[in-house]
Each structure stands twice: as C-alpha cells, then as structure tokens.
C-alpha cells in the first residue's frame, strides 16, 4: 500500500472505522514508514483525546476487584511474560531494519539504471517482500522473550553497498538471524554470510545466490544453536573477499545507521 493510500485511511484508522483487512495493510505500512507513522500518531492522539468528552459515569465500586481478579487469573495461568526492554528492542530494531531495507533506493536514485521506472518498481516490490518476511517473524516474537542485537553493515571499499543485520536470541523460539543487503554487484555472487563471536567462532549463516535488479536480497535463517555473543556479521563475495561487515549491538544500534542515508522515497511510496 502506498503512502498516499495509507494517508487516505489514517483518519478512519484513528477513529476505529477501518475493517480488519484495511487496518492490517495500513499497520504493516506504519511499521516501516516513519513519515506516515508520525501522521498517524498525531491523528490517533487527537482521536484518543475525544474519549474524555463522553459524560463521566461512575462504575460499580466492585468493578475494580473484578478487573484485578481477571488479571490474577491470567497471571496464574502462566502466560509467558516478556522483559519489556527485550520486546521493545525487538520492535525498535525491526522498525529500523525495515527502514534500512529501503537502501535500495540509494542505487535507484543514483541514476545507474538504464530503465529507472522499472528499477523503482522492482526496488519497491523487494522492499514490500522483505517487510512481509520480517513482519511474520515480528508477529511471532511478539509472544516470545526475544532479545535483539542489530547494526548496519558497511561497505569495506566505501562503495554504495549497504545493509543491516540482526540477531534475535530467545529461550522459547529458535534464534534468528536476518540480513538485508543492497547495492551488491551480481559479478560477486554467490555471497556468503557469516556470523562470528569474539573468540573467533564462525557460523555459516547462508548464501545469497540471487540478487534483485537493485543488488539487494534478504536472508533469514533460524539456528538451533544459541546465538548470544555472535555479534560480527561479514558478507563475502564468491572469491572470499569481504564486501560488507558490521557489528551488532544489543542496544538497537540501528537508530542511527552509518551508511549514507537513503534518499527520500519517490512520491506514492
């Protein structure tokens, strides 16, 4: 869904008028689009404040105990709790990664394309597909005790290549690695992605064999092994040379990505 279509629906979303399907599409967009999210937050704040305009009605004093009893029942049912910091870190890091998944726009706007329009379309499609994949994981993590580490991946040679990496470690689900890359040259494929700890142990995350027209790809891998401590991400080309690298930070280091910022998306995206 484009920014225009989303903004057309934000007032209705704030007022609780969207049907489930529309709301889901809009919410998915808001996960990664900071500009629409700001607009949405403003309208949501306005709508939320209206709630207090209804005349106040005193509830039965016994209602407080009923509310507490309901929560006590839930607590004793042993619903898995999650440390707030960990869950917020997951949300923040995923949002930042989704923003970085738009790095492809850098190459698009750099004018390297012979057919700019087609590249814009493909880059947009890739972004949507990446978001869908990560969103699926995000929804799973909402109920898990995941703790995220993330960081930008920088080009070793100072080129237009870029990316982002994230690990999510959890006691209740298999640990996850997500790597987004952009701007890689097809001549270097297949690319090998590695994850290393400070003792030099290296895990093979997987291969990126196929790039989209913008040199981008998303690699998502789950591990039975515990990934805690594995912070260094390296992307090597077919010859073994490092093309991208970065260190993942447990404090949501993607808030200020170091790669050159992606230009603003084209209107309608």
């Amino acid at each position: 869904m484009s920014c225009t279509a989303v903004r057309d629906r934000l007032a209705e979303r704030a007022l609780g008028l969207l049907d489930a399907s529309d709301r889901q599409s809009v919410d998915r967009h808001l996960v990664w689009c900071a500009a629409c999210r700001r607009e949405s937050d403003g309208l949501q704040g306005a709508a939320g404040s209206l709630a207090f305009a209804a005349a106040s009605v005193e509830p039965d004093p016994a209602l407080e105990e009923k509310v507490l009893a309901t929560l006590r029942r839930e607590l004793t049912a042993g619903r898995p709790g999650t440390p707030r910091r960990g869950r917020l870190a997951v949300a923040a890091v995923l949002a930042a990664m989704l923003a970085l998944s738009g790095l492809g726009w850098g190459a698009v706007m750099a004018g390297r394309a012979a057919r700019l329009e087609e590249r814009v379309r493909q880059a947009g499609q890739r972004q949507i597909e990446s978001i869908d994949k990560v969103q699926t994981i995000f929804e799973e993590l909402e109920f898990a005790d995941g703790l995220a580490s993330a960081g930008p991946l920088s080009a070793v040679g100072g080129g237009i290549e870029g990316g982002a990496g994230m690990t999510v470690t959890s006691g209740s689900i298999r640990d996850v690695v997500i790597v987004l890359v952009s701007g890689l040259g097809a001549e270097g494929a297949p690319f090998r992605v590695e994850l290393a700890d400070h003792q030099g142990t290296v895990l093979d995350v997987g291969r990126i064999r196929k790039l989209d027209i913008d040199g981008g790809a998303t690699l998502i891998q789950r591990f039975a092994e515990e990934l805690e401590g594995f912070r260094r991400v390296v992307v090597r080309d077919a010859a073994g040379a490092i093309v991208l690298q970065g260190v993942l930070d447990s404090d949501a280091g993607l808030a200020s990505p170091t790669p050159s910022p992606a230009p603003a998306p084209a209107p309608g995206q």
């Binding site: 704030a14 709630a51 209804a54």
Partner: protein, 173 residues
C-alpha cells in the same frame, strides 16, 4: 507500566484509579448498558496488560493509548452485535457532571476534550461524534448524508487535525 507488565497489584490499582471511570464511561456511551460496559472495562485492562510492552511514551500519552484500546474494543463489539441499538451520545457539556476531586487528571482530560470539540464547527463536531462515539463508518455516513465518500474522509481528517491543533495549543510550551 513496568508494574503493570509484572502484574504488580498496586500498579494495576493505580492504573484503574486513573482510567477505570473514563473507560467505563466510554463503554456506557458506546454499548449502552452497565453490564456491557463492565465487560469492556475488564477486557480493556486485560488487553493493556498484555500489550503493555508495546506502549511507547515517545509516540503518545498513556491516556490516549489506553482509551484507544477501549475505543477499538468497544467498536469491535458494537459491530459484532448485529442489530444493536446504538445509544444516544451524551457529551459532558450537555450533562452536569459530578465533581471528581480524586481524578484531577481525568478532569483535565475532559476539559481538554470539551475545549477541543469546541473548536469545531457544529457540522464537524456532529461528524466526529457519529464516527467516534457511534462507530459509523465513513461509508455509512456518506450514504446517510448523501455526500461522496471522499468528502466524508476529507472532513473527518480535517476535523481530527483541528482537534490535534487544539490539543497542541493547550500543551504548556
């Protein structure tokens, strides 16, 4: 919120003392019966506990977050119950409200909401009231008023922006 997430009883009581009444009031206005409003109130605090980790103070106030949960649950219920008679809305400026000295923040919120609604034209206030408090969709309003759907959407957005502006103006600089 940390306390809520951990199931701390004092934290839950504190949250209830601040928002129990406005949540129940919204239930009364949207759902029309004390029984439904009580069920809604329990659902709202349960949902708030489940979603506490998602609350981000940088994106909005706690009151807005909680009342948004309440509104969404109430509207969902309203739509599920087909054939429900939508209750007539009574706004605070139309009903003498009993003073509530132990809910100073709640009083301030209500004052602010009434002030914000006062910034709207009668038509805008009517529009927002039907959408927010009666759960009428933009399409339903368009069909009822015989105006284009796009016009309703535009007017809803413009009215909300006015409310937002009014809220911003009353915020201390």
């Amino acid at each position: 919120m940390e306390g809520l997430l951990e199931g701390n009883e004092d934290a839950i009581r504190s949250l209830y003392s601040r928002f129990g009444r406005p949540v129940f009031s919204m239930g009364m206005r949207l759902l029309g019966s004390r029984e439904a409003a009580e069920e809604l109130t329990q659902d709202v605090f349960l949902t708030a506990w489940r979603k506490a980790a998602r609350f981000d103070p940088a994106r909005g106030r706690l009151s807005t977050w909680l009342m948004t949960i309440a509104h969404n649950l109430a509207v969902d219920r309203l739509r599920r119950e087909t054939g429900v008679t939508r209750p007539t809305l009574v706004l605070v400026d139309e009903v003498p409200d009993a003073p509530c000295v132990d809910e100073e923040e709640g009083v301030m919120e209500r004052d602010a909401a009434v002030r914000a609604l006062g910034c709207l034209s009668d038509a805008e206030r009517n529009l927002l009231t039907r959408a927010y408090f009666r759960g009428l969709t933009a399409r339903e309003i368009a069909e009822s008023d015989h105006i284009p759907l796009g016009t309703v959407k535009t007017r809803l957005r413009a009215a909300l922006i006015k409310v937002r502006k009014a809220n911003e103006d009353k915020e201390p600089s």
